[in-house]
C-alpha cells in the first residue's frame, strides 16, 4: 500500500489536470456571448468608474463577462488573454499596461481570430487591427491649459509654470505633456521656462518631487497636473505654503488637471481649481462595447476601428452649462450614465 500511494497520488494529479483542461476547453458561456474584460488595477476613480460602466452594461445586455485583473503586469495580462482565447470567448476588451504590450496582445487575438477592443490606453502604433477607443489627450490638455493661460494673462505678470508629468512609458502622459506645451508656447512672453516634475503616476513620488520643486522655485504660480488623482498630494504641498487658496485670493495658484473626476469637480466648485480636462468616460465605455458587439454580430474576426473621444475642458466659465457631461460630477451626483 505504501508503495502504491505515490502512484495513486500521481494518477489523481494527472486526472485533475486532464479534467481541468477539458473544462477550460469547453465554450465558457455555452451559447451565451462571452467577453473577456482584462484590465489593470483600479487605482484611480477613473478606472473604477470605467470598470463599473463596462461590466454592468455588458451584464444588463445578457453577456457573460470574464473579468481578469493583470495587476499592472503586462506578461500576466498576456497570459490571461491567451487563457481567455483558449476558453473560446467571443471578444476581448483590454485596458493594457502600456502601448507595446497592447500590440502584443492584439497580435495574439488577431492570430486566434478573436475580435479585440482596447480601452483608453492606445497601442504603440496601429499596425495591428483592433477597435481602439481613446481620448484625444493632447487636445483636451491643450484646451484646458489654454483656459488657464487666458486666466493668467489677466493678471498682467510673468508666470512661473509647473507641470506634473505622468509615467513616461504611458502614451497618454506624453500626449498630455505635449498639450500643455502647445498652449504655453502660444504665449512665450507670459511664461518662464516650465518646471517639469516627474510623478511616475505614484502619489509618494509626486509628493516628494513637488515639495522639492516648490522649495527651489517658490515663485511657481501656475500648475498643471497630468491627472486629477494627484490633487491630494498637491494640496498637501501647497497648504503649508499658504498657496492652497481659492480664485480671487492673491496667493491663489492657477491650477488645472485632466481626467474629470469627482475630486476635480469638488475643488472647482470650491474655487480652488480653475479648469480640468474631461475624458468622456461613458462615451468611451459605450463606444468600445458597441463596436465590439457589432463586430461579433457581423462575424468580423479582426475589426479595425479607431474611435476618438474629443473630450472637453470644464472651466470656471462653462461649469454650470457643461458639468452634466463630466463623469466625475455624474458619479458624485449619481446621475444616469448614458453614453452619447
Amino acid at each position: 500500500m505504501r508503495k502504491l500511494r505515490p502512484i495513486l497520488l500521481l494518477a489523481l494529479l494527472i486526472l485533475t489536470v486532464i479534467f481541468n483542461c477539458q473544462c477550460s476547453r469547453q465554450p465558457a458561456g455555452q451559447g451565451q456571448t462571452v467577453i473577456c474584460f482584462a484590465f489593470q488595477d483600479l487605482e484611480t476613480e477613473y478606472w473604477v468608474a470605467a470598470h463599473k460602466a463596462i461590466t454592468e452594461t455588458l451584464r444588463t445586455k445578457g453577456i457573460k463577462v470574464l473579468e481578469r485583473n493583470g495587476h499592472q503586469d503586462a506578461n500576466r495580462q498576456l497570459e490571461q488573454v491567451r487563457d481567455a482565447i483558449a476558453q473560446g470567448v467571443d471578444g476581448i476588451i483590454i485596458i493594457p499596461q502600456d502601448g507595446e504590450s497592447a500590440l502584443t496582445i492584439i497580435g495574439e487575438a488577431n492570430c486566434a481570430g478573436t475580435p479585440i477592443a482596447v480601452f483608453n490606453r492606445p497601442p504603440a502604433n496601429n499596425s495591428r487591427p483592433a477597435v481602439v477607443v481613446v481620448a484625444d489627450n493632447e487636445k483636451i490638455a491643450e484646451e484646458t491649459v489654454r483656459y488657464m493661460v487666458r486666466t493668467a494673462s489677466e493678471l498682467n505678470r510673468r508666470m512661473k509654470p509647473l507641470i506634473l508629468v505622468g509615467d513616461l512609458g504611458d502614451q497618454n502622459a506624453i500626449a498630455r505633456k505635449q498639450g500643455f506645451y502647445n498652449a504655453i508656447n502660444e504665449r512665450p512672453e507670459l511664461f518662464e521656462k516650465p518646471i517639469e516634475v516627474p510623478t511616475k503616476w505614484d502619489p509618494a513620488t509626486t509628493l516628494a518631487n513637488l515639495e522639492a520643486a516648490m522649495q527651489v522655485n517658490p515663485g511657481v504660480d501656475f500648475i498643471f497636473t497630468s491627472s486629477d488623482f494627484l490633487y491630494p498630494q498637491i494640496k498637501a504641498v501647497l497648504e503649508p505654503l499658504g498657496k492652497w487658496k481659492p480664485i480671487g485670493d492673491s496667493n491663489h495658484i492657477i491650477l488645472g488637471g485632466l481626467d474629470g473626476d469627482s475630486t476635480a469637480y469638488r475643488l472647482m466648485e470650491q474655487g480652488l481649481v480653475d479648469a480640468t480636462g474631461v475624458q468622456d468616460l461613458f462615451f468611451e465605455a459605450h463606444a468600445v462595447m458597441d463596436a465590439l458587439l457589432e463586430a461579433i454580430e457581423n462575424g468580423q474576426k479582426t475589426p479595425d476601428q479607431w474611435i476618438d473621444d474629443p473630450g472637453f475642458a470644464l472651466t470656471q466659465a462653462n461649469m454650470e452649462q457643461k458639468r452634466n457631461d463630466m463623469w466625475g460630477y455624474r458619479v458624485l451626483a449619481d446621475l444616469p450614465k448614458a453614453g452619447k
Binding site: D41, L42, A213, Q215, V216, F229, Q233
Partner: protein, 330 residues
C-alpha cells in the same frame, strides 16, 4: 615614516566616514546645480520624505545583519495600511486604534515570514518573495484594488510639527533610529544578531538560540515596515494598489548605502541607515531641483546609487587591508 602613518590615519578616517563624505559630496553637487538647494528647508524636506523609507530600512537592517533578506516589506506596508484603512471606514476608529491595527497586521505578516524562514527552513529570498506576492494579492482582494482614503485626523500627523518646529515624520524616524540603535548596541540580544550574521555556525556553537534571533529580526523588520507604511499614508492621504511597490528595493539600497553588509554581521544603524535613506531621497529631489531632463532621472539615480555602493564596497576591502597586522620576519 611619521608622514606615512599620518597619511594612513587620514585615509583610514576618510574611509570610515565614507557614507558621510558621499552624502556631503552629493549635497554640494546638487547645491551647485541649484543654489536654492542649500536652504535648511531642502534638507528638512529630504529627511521628511525619506522618513518612511528610512523606517523600513532600519527594519531591513536587522534582517540583513542576520545574513537574511526580506523582499516582502513593500507588500507588508500595503497590506497593513489596507487593513487599517478598511477598519477605519467600517468602524470609524480613532487614529490610535488604526495605528495599533496597522502594526498588528504588520506583526502577523512578519510572523508568517519568520515561521517560513526559521521553522520551514525556506531560503529567505524565496520565502519573502512568496509573501511579497501573496501579501499584495491579499491586500488587493481586501481593497478590491481600489484606493482607500484616510481621514484628516490621520493625515494631519503627516503635516503637523512637534512644537511647531520639527515635522512629526522626522521625529518618528528619529525615535525609530534611537530605539533600533539601543536594541542593537546596548542589549545582549543586539550583539547576538551581529554574531548570528557574522557566522551562524559559530553563534550556534556559542550557545545562541539562532532560530529565535533570526525570527525576532524578521518580526522587527515587519513591524517597522508597517510603521513606515502608516507614516507614508499619513503624508499621502490614501493607499492605492501601487502603494509600497518597490519600497523593498529602496529599503535595501538605503541600508546597503549606509554600510550594512548584504552578507550579514557588519554595519550600523546610525548614521549609516539614516544617511543611506536620505541620500536616496536627496538624489530624487536633487534631480528635480536641478531641472534635469526627466528621461535622464532613472539612469542618473541608478548610476549614483551604483557608484556609492561600489565606492563603499571598495572601502571595506581597503579598510580590511589597512587594518591587517603586518608581521615582518627578519
Amino acid at each position: 615614516m611619521n608622514m606615512t602613518a599620518q597619511k594612513n590615519r587620514i585615509l583610514l578616517a576618510a574611509l570610515r566616514n565614507m557614507p558621510i563624505i558621499l552624502f556631503v559630496g552629493l549635497f554640494l553637487c546638487f547645491g551647485v546645480l541649484a543654489p536654492d538647494f542649500f536652504r535648511y528647508q531642502s534638507i528638512e524636506n529630504a529627511v521628511k520624505q525619506a522618513s518612511y523609507v528610512g523606517i523600513v530600512a532600519v527594519g531591513m537592517a536587522f534582517v540583513l545583519l542576520t545574513g537574511g533578506i526580506d523582499l516582502s516589506v513593500g507588500s507588508n506596508m500595503y497590506l497593513s495600511t489596507v487593513v487599517a484603512g478598511l477598519c477605519i471606514q467600517r468602524f470609524a476608529l480613532s487614529p490610535a486604534a488604526a495605528f495599533v491595527i496597522c502594526i498588528g497586521a504588520g506583526f502577523t505578516f512578519a510572523m508568517t515570514n519568520a515561521f517560513i524562514v526559521t521553522r520551514l527552513r525556506v531560503v529567505p529570498f524565496i520565502a519573502t518573495l512568496a509573501t511579497l506576492v501573496a501579501g499584495r494579492g491579499l491586500g488587493r482582494m481586501l481593497s478590491q484594488s481600489r484606493a482607500i482614503s484616510f481621514p484628516e485626523t490621520i493625515t494631519r500627523i503627516g503635516s503637523a510639527r512637534l512644537f511647531d518646529v520639527v515635522p512629526y515624520p522626522i521625529v518618528l524616524f528619529a525615535l525609530t533610529l534611537l530605539a533600533a540603535w539601543i536594541m542593537l548596541h546596548r542589549t545582549q540580544w543586539g550583539r547576538q544578531i551581529y554574531a548570528v550574521g557574522y557566522n551562524l555556525e559559530s553563534a550556534r556553537k556559542a550557545g545562541i538560540n539562532t532560530v529565535r534571533i533570526r525570527a525576532i529580526a524578521y518580526v522587527v523588520c515587519g513591524v517597522f515596515a508597517s510603521f513606515g507604511g502608516f507614516i507614508s499614508v499619513a503624508q499621502l492621504g490614501n493607499v492605492n494598489a501601487g502603494f509600497g511597490r518597490g519600497s523593498e528595493f529602496d529599503a535595501i539600497a538605503a541600508a546597503v548605502l549606509g554600510g550594512i553588509s548584504l552578507f550579514g554581521g557588519i554595519g550600523s544603524i546610525f548614521p549609516g541607515v539614516l544617511l543611506g535613506a536620505v541620500m536616496i531621497q536627496l538624489v530624487s529631489t536633487g534631480l528635480v531641483s536641478a531641472k534635469v531632463d526627466l528621461y535622464l532621472h532613472s539612469m542618473i539615480s541608478a548610476l549614483i546609487i551604483f557608484a556609492a555602493v561600489a565606492i563603499d564596497s571598495h572601502r571595506t576591502i581597503l579598510l580590511k587591508k589597512m587594518q591587517q597586522r603586518h608581521i615582518r620576519i627578519e
